[in-house]
């Protein structure tokens, strides 16, 4: 980048001056760019290396591609527009386009609790879950060691060598350890030995020690060391035997054989019983079919969908209506103090929405809320616990939250209406109602209809107000986990299990796709209204 001085160079020059003569050294801009790119490359390489370590090949490929693209774009002269688009495009690609596409993929899998990883991971998990202590297995003298928050086992093997391992790292020998006469390690270099007194004093620590599993080697079939008493460790081995060739598990005790069933992503026995840990496979339209046929789910989901539409439509209609009414009344120059009146009118909109919802949750409280106390003489009205009252409460609160928006929008639109048209209609003898119905409202709708549609789309996914006010409750009868004020997005939230509990990412994503379809249709209607596409 040239210096600022370059701008002032205007003397007449020979037209054929060579480019080399115009060289004025490296500008500050170029140095800044170089530093930025050095930083970007360092960060990118760091990510690539840790992706190699974590064996995350998809992330490796994506970050390598993005890094190469960044270097080409910022050091080439021909990619000018891309220099400006690239930063935004990266974020758009990873955190929006990819997540949308990935939702589409997950919707066709059975990803979720019990199907959370690849088949390889399922094999290892199954081996570990079925570890039992072999009847005749030897015990080893054990010391509990720690390094900061990491707990480990230090054991002395039959030859007197001390081995240390943790949850993450399998057993390996350490040099320079000291053992006492009972062969228990007392000093381990790099580790602090936890004394028995410490262990007995701390119940949490005891539980952690009992749960700790230290792999003997990197092969899950070799089993692991565990302890029951904190002073000796024994080798636990899986009661399942994995046959990689035949892709089967054999239960060593019962002899049952479980086959890897790629259709359902589970290990299934002849009699139909299956092992709890599976892997995820694509299941076609199963999730969509389940959403409409599953007896526990279909009914509640239908009600939720109906309420989602009712909620979004009624919210827009009521708040638009109230806002328009207020705008019509107070768009009157004869009223004094309009300015501060308007400020108070829009206060609910300026107050952060999530706080309003929580505040109303408190005010609508059955026993202590001020709504019952002030306006209903202390009556015991269960606003948020009754299916219909809760729906009403949500609409009421959302009306309170959003009428100021429409008040502002309609006031603006009213003031922009052509006064000649109004005048003309008046001269032609139109009454107030006639004028409103035939002139004001149609003109107003031209400018506000697109906003009404986008407001509808917004409320269609207005998770905050539902979750803050009722959390979707009161719950429906049955095991669906959904409630009578759940809208689709809060239903998806419950089903997905991202906040804990049993997860069903596949079904949740399938429902997300359905929401996307609804939203897409709404937006397509909005586009026809605004003809935004033609402006480009």
């Amino acid at each position: 980048m040239a210096n600022n001085d370059a701008v002032t160079v205007k003397e007449p020059q020979a037209p054929q001056e060579s480019h080399a003569r115009r060289w004025r050294g490296l500008g500050w801009g170029f140095i800044a760019k170089l530093l930025m790119m050095a930083l970007v490359n360092a960060l990118g390489l760091a990510i690539i290396f840790s992706a190699v370590n974590a064996e995350a090949w998809a992330i490796l490929a994506a970050s390598a591609a993005l890094l190469i693209a960044a270097n080409i774009i910022y050091f080439s002269k021909r990619t000018l527009p891309l220099k400006y688009l690239f930063p935004g495009l990266i974020f758009l690609a990873i955190f929006q386009l990819f997540t949308l596409a990935y939702t589409g993929y997950v919707a066709f899998t059975n990803y979720g609790t019990g199907h959370a990883g690849s088949q390889q991971q399922a094999v290892e998990a199954t081996l570990i879950q079925n570890e039992r202590r072999a009847d005749d297995s030897p015990t080893y003298p054990l010391a509990i060691v720690r390094d900061g928050d990491t707990l480990g086992f230090a054991v002395t093997d039959d030859d007197g060598f001390v081995l240390v391992g943790t949850e993450e790292a399998e057993l390996s020998a350490v040099d320079g350890a000291v053992i006492d006469d009972r062969q228990v390690p007392t000093e381990v270099p790099g580790w602090t030995v936890v004394t028995r007194a410490e262990l007995f004093a701390d119940a949490n620590l005891q539980n952690e020690v009992i749960d700790l599993r230290v792999a003997v080697s990197d092969d899950a079939e070799d089993g692991s060391l565990r302890t029951r008493d904190g002073s000796t460790a024994a080798i636990y081995q899986s009661s399942m035997d994995w046959d990689d060739e035949a892709q089967t598990f054999t239960d060593k005790e019962t002899g049952t054989v479980y086959y890897a069933d790629q259709e359902v992503g589970n290990f299934v026995a002849e009699d139909g019983s299956r092992l709890p840990t599976g892997w995820y496979v694509t299941v076609g339209f199963d999730n969509f079919v389940r959403a409409v046929t599953d007896q526990n789910l279909a009914g509640p989901l239908l009600k939720v969908t109906a309420w989602t539409f009712a909620f979004a439509i009624l919210t827009v209609l009521t708040s638009f209506g109230l806002g328009l009414l207020f705008a019509l009344i107070y768009n009157d120059p004869r009223i004094r103090g309009r300015k501060w009146m308007r400020t108070v009118f829009i206060l609910p909109y300026a107050f952060p929405a999530f706080m309003s919802a929580l505040l109303w949750r408190g005010m609508l409280n059955r026993e202590f809320g001020i709504i019952n106390d002030w306006f209903f003489f202390g009556a015991d009205i269960n606003w948020l616990g009754d299916p219909w009252l809760a729906k009403f409460a949500i609409l009421w609160v959302n009306l309170w939250l959003s009428y100021p928006y429409w008040f502002l929008v309609c006031t603006g639109a009213l003031q922009a209406l052509p006064s000649e048209t109004m005048e003309a209609s008046k001269i032609d003898g139109a009454g107030r109602w006639r004028q409103f119905r035939s002139i004001t409202l149609p003109l107003l709708l031209v400018s506000t209809a697109p906003l009404a549609i986008s407001s509808f789309a917004f409320n269609f996914n207005n998770f905050t107000i539902i979750y803050m006010l009722t959390e979707g409750g009161p719950p429906f009868a049955g095991t669906s986990g959904l409630g009578s004020t759940d809208i689709l997005i809060s239903a998806i939230y419950n089903i997905s299990g991202v906040s804990g509990g049993s997860a069903d990412y596949g079904l949740a994503s399938a429902l997300s796709i359905i929401v996307f379809i609804f939203v897409g249709i709404i937006s397509a209607i909005a586009f026809r209204q605004t003809r935004k596409l033609e402006e480009i």
């Binding site: 701008v7 009146m341 300026a350 408190g362 998770f463 979750y467």
Partner: protein, 297 residues
């Protein structure tokens, strides 16, 4: 027109004029009082509850019955100020990022003619229709996978949350800014180019100062939406010291038994006052931005 009729009437008998005034204008004052009550009573209540000395709902139903700052003082025993800090970090970072990336993209679309420009704009328009929040399951899965490689981009990291918000920035803001950039005459950049300015100089020194109003609007909208977002913040931020205000304050009152409404009231008064001031003083711009693009959360 209405004034004209009013003066005509004024020559008549006084009572008629008054009743006419009452029918035309006067009744609007008591109605306004009703609306003001409707709009403001929850806010007055929260102020009163925050000044009450107890934290329960039951003792706060009579307004301003006791005045004490104990709830405000008690905030410092909680993680409240950490959450305020987190919210500011997340909000400011995503606002700055959104402004920067949106302005760059709008500049490219507005000033350059390149292959795929029309297609790019159309794609952005279509992508922005599909809100990220609906895809929260795959956001969660993506961050879980990224976290195994780069912990700073994983679950329970503010940086990850900022990145997620920035992913939605381009779609939401480019159009707003694109329209504004187009109103700046191209002759300005042409003449600077003739004088030897580079594209970066034109962007930073010429265009950016001219588009400051739209930058402020986009920054504010991005801040407000990060401030108010609940679902993504709740999924991404797991541990208490990482929470934003929305997640933390929800946790305060969501449990019926341990709900502490006094703390909530004090916390929301403190957090909402700056937002109220900013919003009311800049309402003209914000509403302009909202009507052109998104809807506030």
């Amino acid at each position: 027109m209405a004034d004209a009729t009013a003066t005509q009437v004024s020559t008549r008998r006084n009572p008629t004029r008054r009743s006419r005034w009452w029918g035309e204008v006067g009744w609007k004052y008591p109605v306004a009082a009703l609306i003001i009550f409707y709009a403001a009573f929850p806010l007055v209540y929260v102020l009163s509850a925050s000044l009450s000395s107890s934290g329960s709902l039951s003792s706060t139903s009579s307004l301003f019955s006791d005045m004490s700052l104990s709830n405000y003082a008690a905030l410092s025993d909680t993680s409240y100020w950490t959450w305020v800090g987190n919210t500011l970090i997340v909000g400011v970072a995503s606002a700055v990022g959104a402004v920067f990336m949106g302005a760059c993209a709008a500049y490219a679309f507005s000033r350059y003619r390149f292959k795929g420009r029309r297609g790019g704009l159309t794609t952005l328009l279509i992508v922005q229709m599909f809100p990220q929040t609906v895809a929260f399951v795959s956001v969660f899965l993506l961050l879980t996978a990224l976290g195994n490689v780069v912990p700073a981009l994983g679950i329970n990291s503010k940086i990850a949350l900022i990145c997620v918000y920035l992913g939605g920035a381009l779609g939401a803001n480019t159009f707003l800014m694109y329209g504004f950039f187009n109103t700046i005459p191209k002759d300005i950049d042409e003449s600077a180019k003739v004088d030897g300015a580079t594209h970066a100089q034109i962007f930073w020194k010429l265009i950016m100062p001219l588009v400051t109003p739209i930058l402020a609007v986009v920054g504010l909208l991005a801040f407000i939406s990060a401030f108010g977002d609940f679902i993504l913040a709740k999924i991404v931020l797991v541990s208490e010291d990482q929470w934003t205000l929305a997640v933390g304050m929800y946790q305060w009152v969501s449990n019926q038994l341990s709900a502490n409404w006094g703390l909530f009231a004090a916390g929301s008064v403190i957090a909402s006052i700056p937002v109220l001031i900013i919003f009311l003083s800049l309402q003209k711009y914000i509403v302009g931005g909202l009507t052109a693009g998104s809807v506030k959360g």
